[in-house]
Symmetry: C2
Subunit: 260 residues, 2 copies
Amino acid sequence: MARNASPVEPAAGSALITRLQRFIDLSPAEILSLQALTRPLRRAAPDEDLMTYGHAGSTAVLMHQGWAIKHRTLEDGRRQILDFIIPGDFCDPCIFVTPVARFSLTTVTHCTWTPVAGSALLDLIAGSPRIGAMLWWLEAEEQAPLQDHLLAIGRMTAEERLARLICELWARMKDVGLDATDGFEWPVNQELIADATGLSVVHVNRTLRRLERQGIIQRSSHVYHIHDPARLRRIAHAVRPGAAPARLDPDIAARLRRSH
Amino acid sequence: MARNASPVEPAAGSALITRLQRFIDLSPAEILSLQALTRPLRRAAPDEDLMTYGHAGSTAVLMHQGWAIKHRTLEDGRRQILDFIIPGDFCDPCIFVTPVARFSLTTVTHCTWTPVAGSALLDLIAGSPRIGAMLWWLEAEEQAPLQDHLLAIGRMTAEERLARLICELWARMKDVGLDATDGFEWPVNQELIADATGLSVVHVNRTLRRLERQGIIQRSSHVYHIHDPARLRRIAHAVRPGAAPARLDPDIAARLRRSH
DNA sequence: CGGACCTTTGAAGTTGTTCAAGGTCTGTGG
DNA sequence: CCACAGACCTTGAACAACTTCAAAGGTCCG
């Protein structure tokens, strides 16, 4: 079931297609134009910047493989991770209307990705209204974790924040078929988790250990096994049982079907 | 200079047009179709829900007058305000691709607003690529405060969070011509400010009082006067000096001009 | 002028931070 | 194969920021 570090590389770009097919039937032509979004295929080592806050001329980033973080940093070094970027994520589809990047994007592991320029986005939108709507959907999907995250950091305890983050990432990894049966590989150190949850490294450690001691999760070398999903979700105040991806509004879907 | 509670109501819908004209020259036809977004014109009393988290069939909301909050609440009552909505804000232009609302929207003052259905959005996009791009731009503008907010709540002290929030709202009020020369009217109580900043009411109060005692701001009946903007911005780590609204990427602007 | 709601302040209590140090794991070079 | 270095994890103890509890003071409106 673990489809992670398999020796045979999965086709670049398959993650996004996997994800989209959960909400819309893609025509062969559409699959082709989505596959075109694997060129140019870029590779990046860990800790490389794919986008930098405030820099002009950024492109959207379609992630094929590997983990990255979307983050903001204050001058004195305090950093907030806004979101983790995993395969199939299309990072900032609205960058094409903004002059400068509103966050930094930095790889955590080795990654493969494709930069998508504003003009390419306009071509996609112009070429197919359905793909235009998909971009809107991807944008909406990119919003959701941010809002959940804000609620968590503003109003939840350390334990709740961690439980929620683990639930969210597990669900997202499921959506692109990268989960193991009882968890997922999360190749980040505790400093990153601290910067994501707005906690200190020390407190992240203590809290994770507590979740382990309670038999809810178990970690070994960056693989997170969820032993008691129900309990974890309860702590996380997770509304959706596992992964219930947002589906397209039926009216809109009907319209798009006609326009196809 | 204070254009707030003037006895002559400003034309509904003018705030959005004011805001858009800062980044693109609107043709008369476009102004007309934007003005069409004032129908149906709805009025709401304070504390009415315009959208409810998890409910299906929501529309986007174009705010003409008054203040509202975009928020999420846990079962036990803990609430996080994601953003304040002011005149000219177009709240959740991508709601049309999502089946249920991802947050609640509740009025704080008397408001006038217009619900914009998904099909109306599709018509707009189909009718004019420039308006389509404007929607993307509005979406991007809606994102920015959220990300700043996340950085603030995750990594800033109480004083910094409050300074930042005040700076942000002052800048946004300026963008739609609703500021006074030295500040703006912020008709919310300290409980709302607490729920926005992830603090307790008591601590919000103490921190605001400290800012006053230092001569940085001064409040009287919900009008916030900024006596020392430079100092406030320094505390807030505000990058942009006052309000530097994101402008449209020149390449994209050129393309849109052609497509017009 | 009474009541509801909001603001303000004090004092005690908690959660999470900081500082410090020891432990573990992994890769590298002798 | 072992020793070592560096990065990361883990734990304890002191400390700070913020919360909670409690109560008094304002203000606005009917």
